[in-house]
């Protein structure tokens, strides 16, 4: 028997129960703890309602050559349905899908955000009430966390992260294409160009700050000194990871605003002002 085994006490059975102190109330907090989960629930619900409405519109998502612009809503890019308008569609598309292309595309960002470690905190607190706030009782009698179906599927987050990166590449190409002013002097910058560029930057920042990214690009190694490149990536991603919550909200807000902007321009509410 080794020395360590000799000094290590055997595990003892854990005695459960025992009277707890304090009153049997939901919480003793008297501050405004309801405010944050309530605000989060309203904001997320508003986004889901808007995104669902926008996804089923199947129109006004592209501003093309007739308006001397090349702007596509991030909800509809890449436009891979047979129903896509000619300018918005690339060479590859699903000829058998005749419904709104957004329904197919939004599966990726939806999956990425639903399984995101930050959003998990947000909706577990605000919708699941498990718990609604720190020091406030969980609203469920039984709790198994993420150990069983369906919540065990949260573990596929890294796959949605990779798919999300592919989508970011496409949205970045859209932002670059937005510098094109077809029939209006070649290249320029409009408000729509800036909107799509900021949207792409925020989506990249949100994706790269993701916890799965931090793990895959270096967090998974045991000895950084043996993986200097991974260490550099990890050191780059770690400060961004500290801002993941802020980036999650900013990118969520801006992707909806980008769709709204393109939608308003495409529907003729106002024209996209050219800056230079």
């Amino acid at each position: 028997m080794s020395t360590q085994e000799g000094i290590r006490p055997a595990p003892v059975p854990l005695v459960l129960g025992g009277a707890r102190g304090g009153p049997n109330v939901k919480t003793l907090r008297k501050d405004a703890w309801k405010r944050t989960p309530l605000f989060t629930a309203i904001y997320l619900a508003a986004f889901v309602i808007y995104a669902t409405w926008a996804a089923f519109q199947n129109g006004n998502y592209y501003v093309g050559a007739s308006a001397h612009r090349d702007l596509i809503s991030p909800f509809y890019s890449p436009c891979i349905a047979a129903s896509c308008s000619a300018g918005a569609r690339g060479s590859f598309y699903l000829h058998w899908w005749t419904y709104s292309p957004a329904i197919v595309i939004l599966i990726i960002p939806l999956g990425f955000r639903v399984t995101c470690y930050y959003y998990r905190k947000a909706y577990y607190r605000s919708f699941w009430l498990s718990p609604p706030a720190c020091g406030v009782a969980d609203s469920h009698a039984k709790y198994t966390g993420e150990t069983r179906f369906p919540l065990i599927l949260q573990n596929i987050h890294r796959y949605f992260f990779v798919l999300g990166l592919l989508l970011n590449i496409i949205l970045t190409a859209d932002a670059i294409n937005a510098f094109r002013m077809p029939g209006d002097g070649g290249i320029g910058v409009s408000v729509g160009t800036l909107v799509l560029c900021v949207n792409a930057i925020l989506l990249w920042a949100y994706s790269i700050s993701c916890h799965a990214c931090r793990h895959l690009c270096g967090g998974n190694v045991k000895q950084f000194s043996k993986h200097p490149i991974k260490y550099r990536f990890w050191k780059f991603v770690t400060p961004l990871n500290g801002r993941h919550m802020q980036l999650a909200w900013a990118s969520l807000t801006f992707v909806a605003l980008s769709d709204l902007y393109v939608r308003l321009v495409a529907s003729g509410v106002f024209s996209d002002p050219k800056i230079f």
Partner: protein, 268 residues
């Protein structure tokens, strides 16, 4: 000098109630000072743990106005003025008396944690590590074992039945410290998944919010551990990689019983 009403839980395992103690408060005092005024005055039999009065011993954890905090680090002038200050014992652990709880659950979970299992030292008998290899774990060494993260975690706070197989945030930072240690040779991922309840955590970050040492428990320990468990158990590409490279992972039982004693093997 001002006067404040302290509502303090008095009782033991047979029951209890809040009792109110109007007490004088002086400028710069913390909650523990005022509890001492109560002990020195109307309630000399009031039980409360304390030691260093500097936020380093982790003894005076309690729930102040419903949130776990160190009594010695909570200034009275940060609490709402003109309202009673409610002090209750930590809710998650069985009560002994008044503000004192039995935290032996944490010691048992610490006993179940497979200890540091270093590889053999270099040929000259020396262990060599670089700073970048150990800096992740250094954050976790700041833990003062106040157990407020364990107290606030709803997995056991609101579900007593989970205590049998949930290590809790304080132990998870120790697991992460060992899992990211450059010399450690054990693989505790299956143990974490099957017996230590890493999957119970739903990332609501209350442990991080209450940590008096500001350790980023969720971001730097629990989520990295969850991702390592995904590597071991839920990622088909990682599984394929292990098959191709013929790497194995330790079962929960192997990890729990794994020991190394390189100094002894050197001497043999």
């Amino acid at each position: 000098m001002a006067e404040v009403v302290m509502r303090i839980w008095r009782g033991d395992s047979d029951g209890g109630q809040f009792e109110e103690y109007p007490t004088e408060v002086y400028e710069g005092e913390v909650v523990l000072d005022v509890v001492h005024h109560v002990q020195a005055g109307p309630a000399p039999d009031l039980a409360c743990r304390w030691n260093c009065k500097a936020g380093k011993c982790g003894s005076c954890s309690a729930e102040i106005n419903g949130l776990p905090r160190l009594m010695c680090m909570t200034r009275m002038d940060t609490l709402p003025e003109g309202e009673p200050v409610t002090i209750a014992p930590m809710r998650t652990f069985p009560i002994i008396r008044d503000l004192v709880t039995d935290v032996s659950f944490n010691y048992e979970m610490a006993r179940r944690l497979p200890p540091f299992a270093p590889r053999e030292p270099d040929a000259d008998g020396i262990y060599r590590m670089q700073q970048i290899d150990v800096e992740r774990g250094q954050e976790f060494r700041k833990c003062i074992e106040c157990f407020m993260c364990q107290d606030v975690c709803h997995v056991i706070r609101d579900h007593e039945e989970n205590k049998t197989n949930y290590a809790g945030p304080r132990m998870f930072i120790r697991y992460m410290e060992l899992e990211s240690h450059p010399l450690d040779t054990n693989d505790r991922r299956e143990l974490l998944r099957q017996e230590m309840g890493i999957g119970f955590c739903n990332i609501t970050k209350c442990c991080t919010e209450v940590c008096p040492e500001h350790i980023k428990i969720t971001d730097n320990a629990i989520i990295p551990l969850k991702e390592r468990v995904v590597d071991a158990s839920y990622d088909p590409i990682s599984w394929l990689g292990r098959k191709i490279t013929r790497r194995t992972k330790k079962s929960a039982a192997e990890a729990a019983n794994y020991r190394t004693d390189p100094m002894m093997s050197k001497s043999q």
